[in-house]
Symmetry: C2
């Protein structure tokens, strides 16, 4: 496909167009991704999540500058699954640092929710693939919040950074308990604020309850992203984590897991499309009416719908 060769030759506009195709479920996107696939697998994908107001975007900008200093090209994907109902893209309205936004070696894309469960992680995965094939050395996936869909999004990354901020109180901690287990590096940002040491200590206590069977103990870094303070240290931890993944064989394991998840996600989506294509809306409506009149239960209905698919 023409768009694929354009992406591979470094055409930014082709990249933007292909991502739009991916986001809008254009049927040509899958063929393009299929052709792009052999050119992927080179980028280091870094996921960053944490509560709103913890300064993730500033952190991403400052990290980007560090990677650029090293001559690495960077892709940034900012995902906002805050509202599963309106499709609003909060992060899209945000203005990035000029230094980052105007750099031709940095590609930035904002994504709002697609409104269906699990879909956001799939789309993120596909956008990562486009930027990977486009030749980005580092891809930063930034997502707001700490709910289950955000977890699914950051789990597309090789290295997961969780940001915290002093003074958000106990309630937030409770919400976030589930996310601690997936973090590779923890950041207490806005560390010039009162309570930063406390927050770091709390994190340490919570983390000490986890077991690290893969040989990596997540470090906790105190940063003041706005002033660039300790961003260099954070960058070093990111590099160390990648080295650890490669050396320990974890990277291969991680890639295998992720490939499996992706394969099953694609299978699910394809089967759903297949059912919708092979059954007219009218028949589905009839079955729903029958269920509502209690003439059929949904389990039997599902069997009936799948019968011809399994046989013909």
């Amino acid at each position: 496909m023409e768009i694929v060769s354009r992406v591979l030759s470094g055409d930014r506009r082709a990249v933007a167009k292909l991502i739009t195709m991916v986001e809008s479920f254009d049927p040509r996107a899958e063929r393009a991704l299929s052709e792009l696939f052999p050119s992927t697998g080179n980028a280091h994908v870094i996921g960053i999540t944490g509560p709103p107001g913890s300064g993730k975007s500033t952190l991403v900008d400052k990290l980007t500058l560090r990677f650029r200093d090293q001559g690495k090209s960077v892709g940034i994907i900012a995902v906002d699954p805050t509202s599963p109902f309106t499709g609003g893209a909060l992060l899209g309205d945000r203005i990035r640092m000029n230094e980052v936004a105007l750099d031709k070696e940095v590609f930035i894309r904002s994504m709002g929710t697609r409104g269906h469960l699990g879909g956001l992680a799939t789309t993120t995965r596909d956008v990562i693939k486009v930027l990977d094939a486009f030749g980005k050395d580092v891809i930063l996936v930034e997502t707001v919040g700490a709910g289950q869909s955000e977890v699914e999004v950051v789990k597309t990354a090789h290295t997961i950074i969780i940001t915290e901020v002093p003074g958000l109180g106990d309630d937030i901690q409770t919400i976030k308990a589930g996310i601690l287990e997936i973090g590779d590096i923890f950041v207490v940002n806005k560390a010039d604020r009162e309570g930063a040491d406390n927050t770091a200590r709390e994190l340490e206590t919570m983390l000490s309850m986890n077991r690290y069977e893969n040989g990596w103990k997540p470090p906790i870094v105190k940063t003041v992203a706005k002033e660039g303070k300790n961003v260099g240290e954070l960058k070093e931890h990111i590099d160390s984590h990648l080295k650890h993944l490669k050396k320990s064989g974890e990277l291969k394991k991680l890639r295998k897991e992720k490939t499996r998840e992706e394969l099953f996600d694609i299978l699910r989506e394809n089967i759903e499309l297949y059912i919708k294509d092979h059954m007219c809306e009218k028949r589905i409506d009839d079955i729903i009416e029958k269920i509502m009149r209690c003439e059929m239960d949904p389990y039997t209905a599902s069997e009936k719908i799948l019968e011809p698919i399994k046989k013909d």
Copy 2:
């Protein structure tokens, strides 16, 4: 099935056993649910969600007493999707009010996360069906937090109550923006705390931006659940909402939507089981290895896997 007739005849132990079967994906559960199905559709299902510490459980207990005063039997399902990784059930450890817990006409069940996306809503739906067939007039589904999986859980209800609490700050408001659109009734609990009027006003402002095309304007109730203050008023709003659903025809529309969602969820799950049954792990592993060596892309792999299913 024997367990079904026992549930229908009011045997509490059979209900508890069937719910455990549902939770543990016992293959007999589906047959039982299928047999139970004609006896469902009578309960008023009420969902309650909100941030941790907003007093949902106390509110649920006090509401239960009100429904019991009216002679209605009550089922309570407490769902905790906080941690998608550990499977811990926070609410399960909580001790309910004695008055509620010892009442033979009240059935209480705590549920932790099942660890897979979307699964918690399906399980909740099935447990609701068991309690519905068991003869409960009112089923209260209580879930902590306000992420996407919590939203999916409360969306199983006919009437959705969102609880707020004074003084949680702006960050929480941002996280919760997406949930406002699904609330039928809003509660500012712990309204004896400073800032309750402010929180109610903020809610009102945020709600005023929504359009209500179905003719129901969500009321905001200030309660002090611990003292039972205004719980009666809340109960009246719940009853009014049910009346509104019935009178406006919204209940039928709602039931149709929910039936459709459920049918497709069951279809998805059954297809996945079918694939896993019809493909040995070895072949799936081979395909994953090929994808990792870039000899095949996941889209083509998915087509290859589905080919025999679509044909044979």
